[in-house]
Structures are given as C-alpha cells and as structure tokens.
C-alpha cells in the first residue's frame, strides 16, 4: 500500500529526497512495521507530468511537507498521516480515474488536489458519488458549490473585483482590456468583470475583450493592439486572465515593445512568484497581480513557512505562492475539523469543517464558510526587480468568498449553505427552492 503511493512520487527526481525523508520519518515513527489501520491516508491529486506539472508539482511537495510537519507533531487523532501521491498527468479524464482509485482503493480520508477548473469538474461527480472530501486550492471562476468540495482558493470577488476597484480608484483607469486564455475560468471571470464594470458606468467601447488559445506564443499584434487601445486619451489597464505557459511570451513581448506599467499597467490573476521565476522582471517592474498571499508578506507565520519550505526542498531559492498558502490553510482546517469530529468519517468531517478557523500566512485568520469557501484578505502587489511582489494595497478586513456571482444573471439569486436545515448548494432566494442552475 505504502508502495503505490511512493512509486509515482519517485517519478520526479526532486521528490526522491523528499520521499526518502518521509520514509525515514515513518521508520522512526513505528518501531514495528505498521499495519494500514495505524495511519490516516491523505490523497494528493496533482499532475506531476504534462502541461500542468509546472504548477502542480509544487503543490504536491507542499502537501508532503505539511503532512511531515503534522506527523512530527504527533499526527492526527493519535495516528500518523500517510500521503498517497498519484499522477493524473494533466489528463482530465485521468483525474477522475485517479480520484476514484484514491477513494475506493486507497481509502484516503481526504484528497488535496486539482488545479484547472476542468480537472475539478472532472473529479466532482466522483467525490459526490463516493462521498469523500476534496480541498481545491486554486483561485477559480466560482459558479459552483459542492457538499464534498472545499474551495480554499479565491472566488472572483476575492481577487478580480478588488483588483479592478484598485485600478479604478488608485490609478484612475477608465479603459479596460480583458485578456484571457480561451477556457472557462477567463471567460466566466471576464463576464463577471464586464457586468461589474458596466454597472460602474464604463461604456462598452471602453472595454476590449481578447481571447487566445492555450500556450499562445506570438503576442506581437495583440500587444500592439493593447498599445493602440491605450492611446485613446483615457488611462488604460489590462486585466489578464492569461494562464500558464502563454504568460512568459506575453510579458516578454510587453517588455520588448516598451509597454511600461506606469503607462498601461497589467494586473494578472494567474501570475505568481513561480511564473515570474522564468522571466527577466526588470522591464516588468510595476505590473500588478492580485492574490490573497505574496511571498513578500512580512509576518512571523510567513517567514516561518518560507524557512520550512526551503529547508524541505533543500533549495534556498524556492519561492512560495498563493495556492501553496491555500493548501496550508486547507490542510490545517482539515486537521482541526478531524480533531473536532474525533473521526475521519466524511459526513462528520464535512459538518465540522464549517466554522473552523485557522491562521493564514498574512497575519490573520481564515474561516470556512457554510458555502465551503473561506474568508481571505485580498492583496494587490507590484512586480519588483527581484521577481517578488510588493504589496501596494490590502483590503482592510477579510473578504467573504462569494461562490454565486452577483454580477451574472443566472446566479445572482443563488446562495449556498451546506449547514443542516438548508444543506443546499444552489438555493434560489427568489423562488425559495433548492436547485437553480447546475451544482
């Protein structure tokens, strides 16, 4: 059993050391060979190969670190935690298969995983059917609430809308380019933003929407178009939901064509410290990103986390990013909820998770809400020469995650509350019935 988990871990060389380290921990933990009942298994469902490996491998590593830390503290309910790592290989149907394998075969207590929305949608029915628990750590488009999924990343109102507000208020932006990769997250986010901007009195000719395919590499004319759009006499900004590999050529082209942040700032929702690691950031100083966490945040919790992370990966240059913080929060919430419930039984844990509150890394507490989203602060940061973000704005309080956007006609009447009497993910407040649009 232990072997299955580690075999896929061994696929990447870097994990080798980590896995070996864990093996030692286990050996030290149990004098006699442990039987399966003495451990609580935790599934890690992140792509370690294929296109998404670039982002997801890090999350697998951070989960291994968190589990190791917890085991040093004595595990959960007196039992050690045992990570089970599988590799869904950036292949969406495989995500569902691997999720089923984790839940039915390995009998994991909870799964931490997925990055893209399509992978989450692919595993969702599996988790609902087998009644297990998934922690999803990435910012996403909202419009979903499942009893079995806990969304520790940002909903659109915890990232996109505060970012747009910041640009409008602090930078006086009046013209907007909404540029994104062509799939569900950018399309939904841009739809929400478009409605929001129009509700704020922005005219449709002051909004330009542009979609590009995954991995788009030739940005010459799009950047030129942005420059052209930005020279209409009004302050212009780009709101970028460009995802993954396409970002590097996009930012390189911006730098080469001399689009400076002081003239046309670009605020990105999918570019973090990891993505910037592959770019020379000198021409990009001042471009923005909106997240709920930056590595540069100066708190005791954060510097402790970074120190542990760099020690764990044996690399003092490794950066941390927002989805890692989301896993940190999610994992601690799960531990707390399991201890509160006194069991790893899914139903008990799902019920006890709501209302659990744990420290986040930005100097406050995040709480799990009845809609299975969490409260987080929203930070806006500017890119610095060293590839880090410098926080230029932070919401005064915590922002409550809103799964059904108020700016989309289909979802503005929907709420989600998974507590006992209502227990519904799409309750329509107009009709008073559960079941508006999809789940």
């Amino acid at each position: 059993m232990l072997k299955t988990g580690f075999q896929s871990g061994f696929k990447t060389g870097r994990t080798l050391a980590a896995a070996a380290g864990l093996a030692v921990t286990f050996a030290a933990g149990f004098a006699a060979p442990a039987s399966a009942q003495d451990t609580i298994k935790v599934g890690i469902l992140h792509s370690l190969s294929g296109t998404m490996a670039i982002s997801e491998t890090t999350l697998k590593d951070v989960m291994l670190m968190l589990i190791e830390e917890q085991n040093k503290k004595g595990g959960v309910l007196g039992k050690k935690l045992e990570p089970v790592v599988v590799d869904p290989a950036s292949n969406w149907p495989l995500f569902a298969e691997k999720a089923r394998e984790l839940i039915s075969k390995d009998k994991v207590a909870a799964v931490f995983g997925c990055w893209t929305s399509v992978s989450r949608k692919s595993v969702l029915p599996v988790f609902e059917e087998l009644n297990s628990v998934l922690f999803y750590p990435v910012q996403y488009e909202g419009e979903e609430s499942s009893r079995n999924v806990f969304y520790t990343g940002a909903a659109p109102n915890q990232q996109a809308i505060p970012a747009v507000d910041y640009l409008a208020e602090k930078e006086g932006v009046q013209r907007w380019v909404l540029a994104g990769t062509d799939y569900v997250y950018p399309r939904t986010t841009n739809k929400i933003l478009e409605t929001y901007l129009k509700s704020k009195g922005v005219k449709s000719e002051d909004i330009m929407i542009n979609y590009t395919p995954f991995g788009h590499a030739d940005w010459q004319n799009i950047v030129a178009d942005i420059k052209k759009f930005g020279s209409a006499g009004k302050k212009t900004a780009v709101v970028s939901t460009i995802n993954g590999d396409a970002n590097v050529p996009f930012y390189k082209e911006l730098g080469n064509q001399g689009v400076k942040a002081q003239d046309i700032p670009v605020v990105a929702f999918s570019v973090g410290e990891e993505e910037l690691a592959g770019i020379d950031t000198k021409p990009l100083v001042g471009h923005l990103a909106a997240w709920n966490y930056f590595m540069s945040v100066d708190t005791a919790e954060n510097s402790d986390f970074i120190k542990k992370w760099q020690a764990f990966t044996k690399n003092d240059k490794r950066v941390t990013n927002d989805p890692m913080e989301a896993h940190y929060i999610g994992f601690n919430m799960w531990v707390k909820a399991v201890e509160k419930a006194g069991t790893v039984d899914s139903n008990a844990v799902i019920d006890s998770l709501v209302g659990v509150s744990v420290p986040n890394l930005t100097g406050g507490y995040s709480a799990m809400l009845p809609n299975h989203h969490i409260t987080k602060p929203v930070l806006i940061g500017e890119v610095q020469e060293n590839g880090q973000f410098e926080t230029v704005s932070k919401t005064p309080g915590l922002v409550v995650g809103d799964e059904w956007s108020d700016f989309l006609p289909d979802s503005k009447d929907l709420i989600s509350d998974w507590r006992a009497p209502l227990s519904c993910g799409n309750f329509n407040v107009k009709t008073g019935k559960c079941g508006g649009k999809g789940s």
Binding site: G13, A53, T57, G215, I222, A224, D245, P249, A277, G278
Partner: protein, 543 residues
C-alpha cells in the same frame, strides 16, 4: 562628474534666468525635503517629491534619480534618507544631496523607500521638467518625451527656455512636440493651439492621436470651434497614416511569425521531408536546444558575466551538437529498426517525446528556466510608424541564414550529395559505396541539430520549459505538409504563407478563430493538392 555638472548648471541657471525658478535653495535647505521622502506612506513620499520638484533646483535631480532606481533608503538608526548601493554583504551609503560618503551599513540597518506606479509616473514627469537643460542630448530628448507624456503646465517656462537654446535638431523636434502637448492641455490662445495641432499632426503616431482625440472632444477646457476643427482634420490625416503603417506592421508580424515557423519546421523538413520519418519527438529536439542555451547562459553567469552578450553565439554550436547527438542516438537506437513502418515510427517517436519531456522535467524541474536576452536582442526601434523589436528582427535574419546554410549543405557538399543519393535510390547508393546507415544517422542528426538551433532562437521568445516543443510540433508538420514534403523551398514558402495568413486573420477573427481558420484552409488545400504546394515529381515520390 555628474554632480559637478549639476552644480555648474545650477549656478549658470541662477545667473541666467533667476525668474525661471521660484527659489534656488542650498543643500542645507533641501535636506528636510529629502528627509520627507522617507516619511512612510506613498502619499507622503509623493508630497515630499512635489516639494522637491517645486524648488526647481537641479541639485535634486540625483536624489530623484536614486529614488527611481530604488537606491534611496532610510537609515533605521536615525531616519535619515541615504543612497545605499550594494557593497559586499552590506550597503555603501552616501548622502543623496552632497554625495559625501557615509560609511557602510548592514543590510538590515537600512530600509528601501518603495515606489508604486503613481510615484513612478510623478518621478518621470518631474525628472523630465528638471533635466531639459541637461548637457547630454539623449537625456534632454528623454526629458522632452517625459514632458510630452506628463503635459505638465509648470514645465512650459523651462521648455521655452530650453527650446531657445537647443541646437540639436532631433531634441528640438521632441521639445516642440512636448510644448505642443502642454499647450493643448492648458489654456493657450486659439492660434497657439492650432499651431500645436499642426505639430502633433506632423508627429502622427498613436500618442499624438490620443492628444488630438482629447482636444477634439474637449468641451470642458473651453476648446473653441476653430481648434476643434483643426484637431478633427488632423485626426483624419493621422488615422489614415496610421492605417497604412498598420498594414505594414501586420506584414512584419506575418514575416516574423513565418520565420519562427520556418525555424521550427526546417529541421522537420529534413527528417520528415527528406527521410520520410514521422518524428513526433521533433519538438523535444527544439526543447533540448533551448535547455542547452539555458546551460550555456548559466555557465556565462557563473564564470564570465561580463561576456553575457555573447552567450547566445556560443549556445548556437552547443545546441546544434547536443540536439544533433541526441538525434543520432535516437536514430541508432530506435528509428533505424522502423524504416518503412510509418505507424510504428509515429508511435515510437511519440513515446520518445514523452520520455524526453519527463526526463528534462526530472533533471531541471517542471518550472520555467530563465534565458536572458543579450542587450543587442532586447528593446525595439521605430521605423517610420513601425515598431520592430530587435529580438524578432534577429530571429528573422537567423531563420533565413539557417535556411541558406542548409540549402548549401544539401546542394554543394559531399554529405548533401550522399543524403540526396540515399533518399533517391537507396540500393543504388549502397552499391556506389555510400554507407547508407551512416548517412541515415547523420541526416537525422542534422535535422535534429537544426531543431536545436531553433531552440536557441525560441528560448528568446517563449518559455524554456519541458513543454516548449509541444507547441511547435503541430505547426511544424502543417508547414512541411503544406509546403510539399521533401522540398525545402516549399517549407520556406509554406512557413511564410502560414505566418502571413495567421497574422492577417488575427485582427479580424481573433487568435483562437484565426488558428481554426488556418487549419481548415490547410485541410481543404491538402484535399485539392495532396502533395502540398511544391510536389516532388519522379522516382523519389514513388519509392
């Protein structure tokens, strides 16, 4: 040196035009203002900056420049604002106003004064107004450009004065345009404004258009009808000019994309086109070339940071040899057993491509690697109304050089002759004493090596990640099939045509639909002409 100039200049200005500046304060009087820069919030810094700008004293220029460069720090011990530059493990401190050395400090003893976008804008506007009299023509021109953007009415006096003394024609033009921009933004007489509109019409670029649009639509700042008329006419003329240049710009983008496709496909034209091997691992050869570039650059960073600009030139032969060697190894170990079995070759090379990707991912990690651009490949220049980035320009040149070199190699060398002999009639070539197996391996190595060269170029514009090759494999096959298998000229024409069509469609159809349309176009084209644009005739085809 620079400081001495500033002082001379300050003295000169104080004598020449006392009225231009409200006050010329000594270093002692400026000190509290400078100290204010470190007061805390961005708003405080901005206020202090405005105070400094108001003095109009050139002595503040180095202070503001240090703030812009991020060298200005607060000494935590006494709250003094100092210039701190990296020196060993700590910082070497100097006084921002006098330049006097203040000793060294530990990294934790100073705190950087941070700036945000709003401050960056204010800084460049302020610097613009203050450096109009700089002895360096380039600085003066940049200053004029900064004023053009900031449209700061307070800079008008300084601008007039600088204009009166200016002798350099290019700087003069920039200053005249800056003056026009300031005049249009402020309240000048109609005649002045109309003259300003003419100046902007002359400039005729996007920025000028933005200003003219603002003027034509302005009701609030008392724009008279005469000015509006002039602006509207100027807009029409500028727009026409821009539309022309826009078409030229699209052509350039098409050429540039075409050259990237050419680079990616030309290696495939050898392995697939000449040898007939469906090599799905071609993209990975490109990726290996890019990683070779990364390694070469790391070596330069480590041992010869001063020669970094040459790293790309060194990377070219390295990438060629590394990718070529991997190619030969693949041919010897896998492909030679599969000649004449295209389906199995396809599957085997596809598996190889996955294996290579994962191998690179295990060695270098899944994240992007930073490949820097040498200074001669970064930035852009203006050619008329065209913006051409140096990186793209060099890639176009490089693509054609590689194409030419390959053509010569195939036509004029003994090796090329053997390749052609083997592809045309293997058994005959064998009978003539050509070691066909060796030629096969070397040909495959040549194609892979060229893919490695493409990797060097692509590392400049794309991610250096294990997935780099995947993005180009489909496009490469499209180019080769469209151009005509086995014909290098076909590959050239195919690449440029596809690049051009793509860039022509993109503004109308968007990037996603544009790609789909190109694909449909190729499918239809292949229906009509299965052998591509330039079909080979004769025995080689039937073989």
């Amino acid at each position: 040196m620079h400081r001495a100039f500033c002082w001379l200049l300050a003295a000169f200005l104080a004598l020449a035009a006392p009225s231009a500046f409200s006050a010329n304060l000594g270093a002692a009087d400026l000190a509290p203002l400078v100290r204010g820069l470190g007061a805390g919030s961005y708003a405080d810094t901005e206020k202090a900056l405005a105070g400094l700008a108001e003095t109009g004293d050139p002595a503040v220029v180095p202070v503001i420049e240090a703030l812009q460069a991020g060298d200005l720090h607060i000494r935590k011990a006494d709250g003094a604002v100092v210039v701190a530059k990296r020196a060993g493990n700590g910082y070497a401190l100097t006084d921002p106003l006098t330049g006097a050395a203040l000793g060294e400090a530990d990294r934790n003893a100073v705190e950087k004064i941070r700036i945000n976008n709003a401050l960056r804008r204010t800084i460049s506007a302020t610097l613009g107004a203050l450096t109009l009299m700089s002895p360096d023509a380039n600085t003066r021109r940049q200053a004029a450009e900064a004023v053009f953007k900031s449209r700061d009415a307070n800079a008008l006096d300084a601008l007039n004065m600088a204009l009166a003394k200016e002798t350099d024609e290019r700087v003069r033009r920039a200053m005249t345009q800056a003056r026009a921009s300031v005049l249009l933004a402020g309240d000048a007489s109609d005649a002045d404004k109309i003259a300003a509109v003419d100046v902007l019409k002359e400039r005729g670029d996007q920025d000028a258009l933005a200003l003219l649009n603002g003027t034509a639509n302005s009701v609030s700042n008392g724009g008279s009808d005469a000015v509006k008329d002039a602006a509207t006419k100027a807009i029409a003329s500028v727009e026409q000019r821009l539309a022309l240049w826009g078409a030229a710009q699209n052509l350039w983008y098409g050429l540039s994309l075409g050259s990237v496709l050419l680079l990616a496909a030309i290696g495939l034209a050898v392995t697939f086109g000449v040898m007939g091997v469906i090599n799905m691992a071609h993209g990975e050869m490109v990726m290996i070339g890019a990683y070779a570039t990364f390694l070469v650059q790391e070596a330069f960073r480590q041992w010869a940071p001063g020669l970094f600009d040459f790293s790309i030139l060194v990377a070219l032969p390295v990438a060629f040899l590394v990718s070529g060697a991997v190619g030969v190894a693949i041919e010897r170990s896998v492909i030679r057993w599969l000649y004449g079995r295209p389906l199995e070759t396809l599957l085997a090379t596809w598996g190889l491509s996955l294996a290579l990707q994962q191998a690179v991912r295990s060695i270098f990690g899944p994240t992007n690697r930073e490949v820097g651009a040498p200074s001669w490949m970064s930035g852009a220049f203006e050619l008329g109304g065209l913006t051409i980035t140096y990186g793209r320009l060099w890639i176009v040149v490089f693509a054609f050089l590689v194409f030419g070199a390959l053509l010569v190699a195939l036509r004029k060398t003994w090796f090329g002759l053997s390749i052609r002999a083997v592809t045309q009639n293997r058994s005959m070539a064998n009978a003539m004493g050509i070691r066909t197996a060796r030629v096969d391996a070397l040909t495959f190595g040549l194609g892979s090596g060229i893919a490695g060269l493409a990797g060097v170029a692509l590392s400049q514009i794309d991610n250096v990640s294990p997935n780099l090759g995947q993005g180009y494999i489909i496009d490469s096959f499209m180019v080769v099939v469209f151009g005509g298998v086995g014909n290098l000229w076909g590959t050239l024409v195919g690449a440029l045509a596809l690049g051009g069509v793509n860039k022509f469609l993109e503004p109308y159809a968007g990037a996603v639909l544009g790609k789909i349309l190109v694909l449909i176009f190729i499918i239809l084209f292949i229906q009509r002409r299965p052998r591509g644009l330039f079909a080979l005739k004769g025995r080689a085809v039937e073989a």
